[in-house]
Symmetry: C3
Subunit: 348 residues, 3 copies
């Protein structure tokens, strides 16, 4: 059985700078979505399929803020309503409309709501304020993973793979020894690890005033369904509050394009070596090697081994202690999807 | 549900000059058909699958007018009968035969009958005599469309798309204002438009004696199921009979290769600027731009939006006034297919 | 209905020289198999799918004789058992194991048993001792056929196709006239043809002391299910025992990778012109032309004509006298598979 997608939630539809007066088309939860900006700069997302003869509206053009279908010239406004029929008596046929999607522009992303529009509350977008915070410098990009999105999320929720898959970059025994708490708050998961009074790890060492002084070293992860993760890794002089430390936030935003294809947005934000191109390059190198050359082939190989299956748990994997967070995330997501499906069946 | 193909009808199997003493293989209604010419020049069409081990006969060779299978040497004559078994006692096994298809060579095409051979009446081939008329000069070619054939036919039956998809070539408001009659005669549709006493359109202007004189400008379309269309577009001095005018016939012949792949033959025949290479080039340019660069991507994008579906109407499109002819054609075709299927079930 | 694979039998998994300290992965009966050699040189075959998160073990590395998964570092030994869990308390989860396959290295091949391990009796490997016999010189290679393995076996069991498909190399009327006996011994088929007192065929002529003397010319084939064939073709002075003659053994070993993809290993072994490079080149040329350029396109075209079907007989081919051996082989195989399936259902 295929698992339904979670619909009443915010997904990243695109990076904000990619939505312009040129059409941008994306599959999101297997639906074709067309994005562009109105003349006043506001972003818009509507269904990309003309209701007349199913032409992709993206093959047409913008006429002001409306979209003109390239096949027969019907025009649709930003609400999805047909506003011009150039044929015959020009009457607009009943039902001549395309879907429209609530969107919000925040943190440099266009967020889209794929569920019931009346439930689209912008305050439900989790907080990623470091992305817009001038005290941080961020570098990031996006990529396609030819795999089910839950496999991508598993990879993020399970940091133990770094010791093996990313051994060249991330060799550390911290994750073998650190105490690991996982707490559920609402539908969010918060995982926290801290190694008190230890030697600073190489990637922070050169940015510390006194690299020989012991530090508290932490790694926290927050997950929101279905695939919004932020990692918070940092060091502070032993015994001092984390707010005084230097840290990197890793932002990982996972959007299902289809069951088997995932768009994955990532960024690394640091509050040290600000505007330092060399630091940017080091982090971009890590993203290229770690995410593109190591994670992606592994995740896609796992999907390939699973064939057409998407539900890992239905295939009865053996479970290790390191799977706690990812399994918990899968279970929360399953419950949320099941609740949504049930609600849908009860709807009048 | 997949719609069956109409079988008791003539399809274009190939352009006549492509059928030679070299084998030509074409999928037609998802059947593999092998064509060649006999030593006396007569064209032949038989099934391409050897009944012994299912080798494509096209991997064999001609021995006189018979086809020798390249795997084990069975020979089949033009009637599809096995006429030589080179093995053992040489006895021809019962049922050792391939399908044979009635064909007719006419108007520069090989026409094939995919239904019951006893019903294959050559007089049922619609008339396209302009293709062989010395008073006309024709230019044409063929192409593949990766889409269901009915989408290709829709495109032909619906000229209003020219104003948008072919706006650069065909900008005109004629279709917005002209009276439009559609008449059904038997299973043929005849659509007629005329704009009386108007300015001659650019493509005819330079061929008129007095380009400033008003003309009657017409556009007629004839459709025969499932996909044989002829457009007749022309101008004549206002008030004079169409026979005196200059005109172009557009011939559009659509053959399903499979449910999702269509071979589309087209030609433009004119009774002015005869043997004028520049006129040929202008028309070929239009065919290249209009059919290959504009229609084909749009039609294939529509099929892509429809996924595995082939029946547009089952997807509940909204309908416009301009869809009258194409919807009528779809309905006639549906009735003809249904009648054929019913007859098949009643057959002893 | 898809036919099950025969499991309790030996298949060739790889040529021995290809199994090294580098991982070799092969699909065999649609299962992913990982092969490598232990430090002592012994070959090993285990399942390639980690039971934890289904990563291909081939993306990991060897640690001594154990395989370390590249994703999370679980280690498996040659018996398939998990022997190291680097996470948490290091406890090995129950069921943490991959499949292991009995293998035997013989005649230059790694033979694998895909059925119940307790039935894996090495003495069931048919005899191909000419491959290791210093009195013979062998040349061979392997190839992929994008077709069901039974179509590849049909081709081997049916030598009559040589007169047509390989007419340029193998033109002979021997197979039209020679008496042909087929005998079943256990589940093996033995086909024997002999032409007594005839002119020596070209490929042997130059290696005979007196090429004008009449010879007895034979061609024997042995088949073991599902696809292990050896052809024995030779000549001897008329009336003398075959042991005194010169001969070539053609070894043809067919392993299903999936239903629609077959790996085919072949070799030609001769007891004349030993270590003669020119003779090697002649045979390699024949293998290249006959197997790669002629058999492979034909067999793949047949599969293509059969679509998704794999059981030729279910498609009711007409049968010729030359199909006796291949049909008999298919029937024996069908019985063996049916017996195996029945036994499986009766198992507690």
């Amino acid at each position: 059985m295929k698992m339904a997608f979670l619909r009443n939630t915010w997904y990243v539809a695109a990076r904000a700078q990619h939505v312009t007066r040129e059409f941008l088309v994306r599959d999101i939860l297997s639906e074709p979505v067309l994005m562009y900006r109105k003349e006043n700069g506001e972003a818009v997302a509507i269904g990309n399929r003309c209701p007349h003869r199913f032409a992709p509206l993206s093959m047409g053009k913008l006429v002001g803020d409306a979209v003109e279908c390239g096949y027969h010239g019907l025009q649709f406004d930003c609400s999805g309503a047909c506003v011009l029929n150039p044929h015959g008596d020009g009457k607009i046929p009943r039902n001549a409309a395309v879907k429209t999607y609530p969107i919000v522009e925040r943190y440099g992303f266009i967020w889209i709501w794929m569920g019931s529009p009346e439930k689209a509350d912008p305050s439900l977008i989790p907080e990623f304020s470091h992305l817009a915070d001038p005290k941080f410098t961020s570098v990031g990009d996006e990529m396609i993973q030819e795999a089910n999105y839950e496999l991508v999320v598993d990879n993020l929720m399970d940091l133990s793979h770094a010791m093996f898959l990313h051994a060249d970059y991330q060799k550390t025994d911290m994750f073998l020894t650190a105490k690991h708490d996982v707490e559920q708050i609402g539908n969010s998961l918060h995982s926290r690890r801290v190694v008190p009074g230890t030697k600073p790890p190489p990637s922070f060492k050169s940015s510390l005033e006194d690299p020989d002084q012991p530090v508290d070293y932490w790694l926290n992860v927050r997950w929101d369904a279905p695939g919004l993760c932020v990692l918070d890794i940092g060091v502070v002089s032993a015994g001092r509050p984390q707010e005084e430390g230097i840290r990197r936030y890793g932002t990982h935003l996972v959007t299902p394009e289809t069951e088997y294809r995932t768009r994955y947005y990532y960024a690394s934000s640091r509050n040290y070596r600000l505007n330092d191109k060399k630091a940017d390059e080091e982090l971009q190198k890590w993203q290229e090697v770690g995410f593109h050359q190591q994670d992606k082939p592994m995740i896609e190989a796992v999907q390939n081994m699973m064939g057409e299956a998407t539900d890992l748990l239905s295939m009865k994997p053996i479970l290790l202690s390191v799977d706690g967070a990812s399994i918990r995330a899968r279970r929360i997501l399953n419950q949320m999807v099941a609740a949504e499906q049930e609600e849908k069946q009860l709807a009048p």
